[in-house]
């Protein structure tokens, strides 16, 4: 993911570069409205997403009720 930065004035330090907001602004429009899968670009990102978002099946440290009763 590409992080955005912005420059801000800091007391005693002049202008500093700080991490900017990472949320999507406003309402997406056009053909891309609603499409979210392409936000994950690399294979590594996609696999990591599977392990976290779809942790119900692919997470190694899932804490759901099933795993408590049936340790992995």
């Amino acid at each position: 993911m590409q992080y955005k930065t912005e420059k801000k004035a800091a007391p005693g330090r002049g202008e500093v570069e700080v991490l900017s907001a990472t949320y999507e602004e406003g309402k997406p429009e056009g053909e891309d409205a609603g499409r979210w899968r392409q936000k994950l670009q690399s294979r590594e990102d996609k696999l990591k997403y599977l392990q976290t978002a779809e942790r119900y099946w692919y997470g190694k440290e899932w804490f759901g009720s099933e795993k408590r009763k049936t340790p992995a």
């Binding site: 979210w36 899968r37 696999l47 997403y49 779809e54 099946w57 692919y58 759901g64 099933e66």
Partner: protein, 655 residues
């Protein structure tokens, strides 16, 4: 007009039924009046399994059956009414499973061709889903190319159809407790084709003659559909054409355009529809349409193919099952392109009243009097263009009796399991937790899947719509697929604004916070497998029990008509879901079989069947079941929230 109103509550449908009458064109609504349903077949009391019959063993009408009467209710071979009802039911499951699974097999075949580079028109659109399935099937990922992974995945999945021993691979996606139950009951399917073949064998004359044993095989066959053929089809289609995400579009006959070449794609398999969606915008095709006096090509969907291209391309839907003939009755349809399942044979005779070309495309489904242009995945673009040219050439042949009803409604579709998970939590914390939390805190009472067909024996769309409105009014989130989804979409229930208008206060507040409609479109009938996965995610997230049968959920097919619906219902029941069907119930000829499915199934599977043609009563049955499950989970009433201090915690630990 009053007589017409009884046939549908959809204004576009009502207008087109009247137009068909004016045009002297015989349609399904007319035939439903002239061809009465056979009362003996309807209750599953007719056995035509051998040439000593057909034997009719109906329940006596207007009086209680005596034990002596019951002894006489047998076929020539001695088969009891119970065996006959169960056999007929299991054969419906086998046919439904075969339909979904043959669709699945065709998808795997196309997927393998794609992976091997034999189908230049297609590509892997969702790498993530490919990786997900590779993880499921234990296929090495590493640095291998997508195509290498896809070939191994396709070859592994195609074996699921012909597997003779073991279990279907996707069963392990189900909650652990459910998997154990299936193994204990002996209903874990071994291979998709094997279960269909065994179901057909066991229902042959003189084989399995114990209704309970027959119905166990029915469950095993149905599970081979839901957790097998259907699930394989859904997942591979996602890899090839993209996992659905929210998309805006429109629905109803008003999406047809007077000044464009109208082409409807009707059926179930999305390969051709995908290519038509792309090619209908091809400059060469658009120019050809203009050369014939049209402004362009307007592609619309019908039935479940419509759901497929809607969810992935936003292609509008012209209507559901009972509107297929009516799209021709507009007089503005140049071609109806069909593949498999739910295609009425009468399309050809209806088309003869107008100028529409009926084009069959699948070697498994030909129609007398229709034009056949066989679709070949290897030359998909050329095939799609050839079909579109036929439609364009037909544009100048439009007759004068053109009328497109103005009705069309906005909808948002594309709520796959993956998208629901994402919408509830976002990219970094995607989760079903907010759904479970809101069920636990009571804002959402439960979740219902309302699926299935439309049926000319009841008022078109009315039964589904009444049920869905009753459910959301009572804070039940509704998930929909197939033609049932289209009924809600036409009535405006599939936009976020519907939450404040139709949903109860609790459900509306959650829908507004997340920005979703109270009725979610999850896809085609094959995509009922997505509902199984969503239910499993709810279980695995925790807090609502250990199995699907613990969840406050219910299912329904209020206007069902096809054997596929029976297969779907049975795999939901065998997965632990209370499922209500409307219209008619095909085992009514045997009280034992019906009671077994309506009562005893709950002890066996945790889910059971019910029949209730009245949509309000059916919705109330579902709500009562949801409330029963809420009570069992201890979430039926709000509890006082107590902030524990350290002393209280020590006391708790010491207890």
């Amino acid at each position: 007009m009053a007589e017409v109103v009884k046939k549908s509550i959809d204004q576009a449908t009502i207008e087109m039924i009247a137009k068909a009458k004016t045009d002297e064109c015989n349609i399904v609504f007319d035939r439903a009046e002239t061809t009465k349903a056979c009362p003996i077949g309807a209750e599953g009391s007719c056995c035509s399994m051998c040439a000593m019959g057909p034997c009719r063993v109906p329940l006596p009408r207007g009086k209680e059956e005596t034990p002596e009467d019951k002894k006489k209710r047998r076929g020539v071979c001695g088969a009891t009414a119970e065996t006959i009802a169960a056999r007929n039911f299991v054969r419906k499951i086998a046919a439904g499973t075969a339909a979904h699974s043959d669709h699945g097999r065709r998808v795997v075949s196309a997927f393998l061709d794609l992976a091997k580079g034999k189908t230049p028109g297609y590509q892997i659109k969702d790498e993530q889903k490919l990786l997900q399935l590779a993880l499921d099937m234990g296929i090495k990922i590493g640095d291998r190319s997508n195509e290498e992974i896809a070939i191994e995945l396709g070859e592994t999945l195609i074996r699921e159809f012909g597997k003779q021993e073991g279990e279907l691979a996707f069963l392990k996606r189900a909650p652990l407790k459910r998997q154990e139950l299936w193994r204990k009951l002996g209903v874990a399917p071994r291979g998709i084709d094997r279960e269909v073949v065994e179901a057909m064998h066991r229902t042959h004359m003189g084989v399995d003659q114990d209704y309970q044993s027959l119905l166990l095989q029915g469950s095993r066959t149905a599970l081979a559909d839901g957790w097998g053929g259907s699930m394989i089809a859904t997942d591979l289609q996602d890899i090839m054409f993209g996992t659905p995400s929210p998309v805006a579009s429109q629905i109803n006959l008003g999406v047809l355009k007077e000044d464009e070449v109208n082409v409807i794609i009707h059926g179930h398999e999305p390969q051709l529809a995908e290519m038509l969606a792309v090619m209908s915008r091809d400059p060469e095709i658009v120019a050809y349409a203009k050369s014939k006096g049209a402004k362009g090509v307007n592609l619309a969907g019908m039935c479940c193919t419509a759901n497929e291209v809607l969810m992935r391309h936003g292609i509008p839907i012209a209507g559901n099952f009972l509107q297929q003939e009516l799209s021709i009755v507009t007089g503005a349809l140049e071609a109806m392109v069909v593949d498999v399942q739910c295609i009425m044979q009468s399309l050809v005779s209806v088309a003869q009243c107008y100028h529409t070309k009926i084009i069959t495309t699948d070697p498994r489904a030909k129609m007398e009097g229709a034009m056949h242009i066989e679709f070949d995945d290897h030359h998909a673009a050329e095939g799609a263009k050839a079909i579109l040219r036929v439609a364009i050439d037909n544009f100048p042949n439009r007759k004068k009796n053109v009328y497109i009803p103005p009705q069309k409604t906005d909808l948002i579709a594309g709520f796959s399991h993956e998208t629901i998970n994402y919408l509830l939590g976002g990219l970094f914390r995607a989760s079903y937790r907010p759904l479970n939390d809101n069920i636990i805190n009571g804002r959402i009472r439960g979740v219902a899947g309302v699926v299935g067909c439309s049926n000319a024996r009841v008022t078109h769309d009315e039964v589904q719509l009444t049920m869905v409105k009753e459910l959301i009014k009572n804070d039940v989130l509704v998930l929909q697929t197939g033609c049932a989804a289209m009924a809600s979409a036409k009535a405006g229930l599939m936009v976020p604004e519907a939450a404040s208008q139709y949903a109860g206060e609790g459900l509306a507040s959650v829908c507004e916070a997340v920005g979703i409609p109270p009725v979610l479109h999850m896809g085609a009938c094959i995509d009922n497998s997505r509902i199984l996965i969503a239910a499993t995610a709810m279980v695995k997230d925790g807090g609502l029990g250990d199995d699907i049968s613990d969840l406050p959920v219910a299912g329904a097919a209020p206007e069902w008509m096809s054997e596929k619906a029976i297969a779907i219902g049975q795999y939901f029941v065998a997965s632990g879901v209370f499922t209500v069907f409307g219209v008619t119930w095909p085992t009514m000829g045997s009280k034992e079989v019906t009671n077994y499915m309506f009562k005893d199934f709950e002890k066996i599977y945790g889910g059971m069947w019910a029949f209730e043609p009245d949509p309000i009563k059916a919705a109330q049955l579902m709500i009562a079941h949801i409330d029963k499950k809420r009570k069992a989970l201890g979430i039926d009433k709000s509890r006082e929230r107590v902030l524990y201090d350290m002393t209280m915690r020590r006391q708790l630990e010491g207890a």
